[in-house]
């Protein structure tokens, strides 16, 4: 499902180029769940951005679902994200001027799917928010917002789900509930999951964990699965 070879990614800042990813190698099978742990600034989020085609690698190759992202232009990358990738953020990133239903329907509308609202409604019902579809994000709790974000990520039935510290802004109980939901949905859709987290308990729920240190991945011993 994912094949990353010798991935380098540098970003140019005010003080000059910063080498964030320094030769990342990673292979992930379809339906596999992987957690990426590591200190802040190690490059975890940047790796997710490279996997979603939001950041272009400086060198190396990134293949997802057999597609070499380094060869795609912006429009092709947008289509790739629509068809293959769901993303869940730490800060939810729901659009505040849209209702829960509209937020979830958004990726379906981008994909030109006609009955987007029905599908979005079904996705929200699956996350237990069938009675909150007309609520705006500001009217929802943090846990509810993250459940809307999960519904939005899974509604297009992506082959790859990228989750960037999805419980980082939630209390322990709510975080546990959201993660249960995330893993349920992942299992139901057999989605490949890349989960960035600082929570070791959460990381241990994945098939395997990798450690990101100074822009490089190191496999942690003892796969969970």
């Amino acid at each position: 499902m994912i094949e990353i070879k010798n991935l380098h990614l540098s970003l140019v800042g005010g003080a000059g180029p910063v080498n964030i990813l320094r030769g990342v190698h990673l292979n992930v099978a379809g339906g596999e769940t992987i957690s990426i742990v590591g200190p802040s600034g190690a490059g975890k989020t940047t790796l997710l951005m490279a996997l979603s085609g939001l950041e272009k690698p400086t060198s190396g190759s990134v293949k997802v679902a057999g597609i070499d992202l380094t060869t795609l232009n912006e429009d092709e990358l947008a289509r790739f994200r629509r068809e293959h990738v769901g993303i869940v953020f730490q800060s939810f990133h729901l659009i505040p001027t849209m209702t829960a239903l509209e937020n979830v329907a958004l990726p379906l509308e981008f994909a030109g799917i006609r009955n987007s609202e029905e599908q979005a409604k079904a996705a929200l019902e699956k996350t237990g928010l069938g009675d909150r579809i007309e609520h705006f994000p500001g009217e929802l709790s943090g846990g509810e917002q993250q459940r809307v974000a999960l519904a939005r990520a899974f509604v297009v039935k992506p082959s790859l789900l990228l989750a960037d510290e999805p419980t980082g802004n939630l209390d322990r109980e709510t975080g546990k509930m959201v993660m249960n939901l995330l893993f349920d949905l992942q299992e139901e859709h057999n989605t490949t999951l890349i989960l960035v987290t600082h929570d070791e308990m959460l990381a241990s729920r994945c098939h395997r964990s990798v450690h990101m240190i100074d822009g490089q991945l190191k496999e942690l011993p003892g796969d969970i699965a």
């Binding site: 979603s52 939001l54 912006e74 429009d75 947008a78 289509r79 790739f80 994200r81 629509r82 068809e83 990738v85 993303i87 990133h93 729901l94 659009i95 505040p96 001027t97 849209m98 509209e102 958004l106 990726p107 509308e109 981008f110 994909a111 030109g112 939005r152």
Partner: protein
């Protein structure tokens, strides 16, 4: 553009604009002030000018005015003017007016008028009476004054006041004077009497600072400009100042033109600030939407859809 993209963009615009016009307040205010200032001052100036033109003859006191300082028109010129239309003679000077006992004295703007004054408009008098009756000299000299003169001399209507060597009975208070143009200040209140009354004061001496205004009322006032030219040619050495009704209140018109220019400049500045505000407001608005744009890109929104949606939002707000 793909119609599907446009429909999607419009849908996004509708949802995004639920957030209101935050950030566009300064821009809209500048735009409003600029357009308002320019249009308001333009229409005000034009209204004022057309109003002045409509009342020009009244403000000038005739269709054509001939002004002379310290001397009267020669008889030949007066005779000629009388062949062109009705002629009125007004004299003005500054002099002191005293109460009967001579204990209070006030500087006034004295105006002596003939029996046909005024050609246009009416002199407002309190208590109401005609100017001919008010200034009648058959028994005693009469005068009309502005209210401040009564206060300063501590006299009232019906009392006697002294100007030069003549006594005048105050017959009324002047409440309005049609040919008194707008001036920033006056040296004293008006004291109006007849020409005979002024003559009786003994103030008309050689070298007296008296100003003479001869006003002509023409059968067709549009001929005033042509007559002005003819008079200049016929009496090249006259040393007078001629003004037609079209040139009445030149200072007011000059003031209006200057005000128009300055306020239009202010309006343009406001528009300029509004123009600068456009970029600031658009930048500020888009900065506030960066997270939304990034989120939509993550969800697979095509670049042209995002561009179209936000371009439409900006255009829509500019149209408001």
């Amino acid at each position: 553009m793909n119609p599907q993209t446009l429909i999607q963009a419009l849908r996004l615009v509708r949802r995004e604009l639920r957030g209101g016009l935050r950030g566009f307040g300064v821009f809209l205010m500048c735009l409003f002030l600029g357009v308002f200032a320019i249009s308001a001052i333009g229409s005000f100036t034009e209204s004022a000018k057309s109003g002045l033109l409509a009342d020009a003859s009244a403000l000038l006191g005739g269709d054509l005015e001939i002004r002379l300082a310290h001397r009267e028109l020669p008889t030949t010129a007066v005779d000629y003017l009388k062949t062109e239309g009705e002629l009125s003679h007004v004299m003005t000077m500054r002099t002191m007016v005293a109460n009967k006992s001579g204990t209070q004295r006030v500087l006034t703007e004295l105006k002596a008028v003939d029996t046909v004054y005024p050609f246009y408009g009416t002199v407002g008098i309190e208590p109401q009476q005609s100017i001919a009756i008010a200034l009648d000299n058959s028994h005693e000299l009469g005068a009309l004054v502005e209210a401040p003169l009564l206060t300063r001399l501590d006299v009232k209507v019906g009392d006697l006041v002294k100007v030069g060597s003549a006594d005048f009975r105050i017959r009324g208070i002047i409440t309005s004077e049609p040919d008194r143009s707008v001036r920033p200040f006056n040296l004293g209140p008006r004291f109006m009497t007849s020409i005979a009354g002024l003559s009786a004061t003994g103030l008309l001496q050689p070298g007296s600072l008296v100003y003479h205004a001869y006003r002509l009322r023409l059968s067709d006032r549009t001929e005033a400009t042509q007559l002005k030219t003819e008079l200049g040619e016929r009496f090249p050495e006259a040393g007078w100042r001629l003004r037609s009704w079209r040139e009445a209140t030149p200072r007011v018109r000059f003031f209006l033109d200057r005000m128009n220019q300055n306020l239009t400049l202010i309006g343009l500045c406001a528009l300029l600030v509004g123009g600068l505000g456009v970029s600031g407001a658009v930048r500020g608005y888009l900065t506030g939407k960066i997270t939304h744009i990034a989120t939509m890109k993550c969800l697979g929104a095509p670049g042209r859809l995002i561009f179209t949606a936000y371009l439409l939002q900006v255009l829509l707000m500019l149209r408001l």
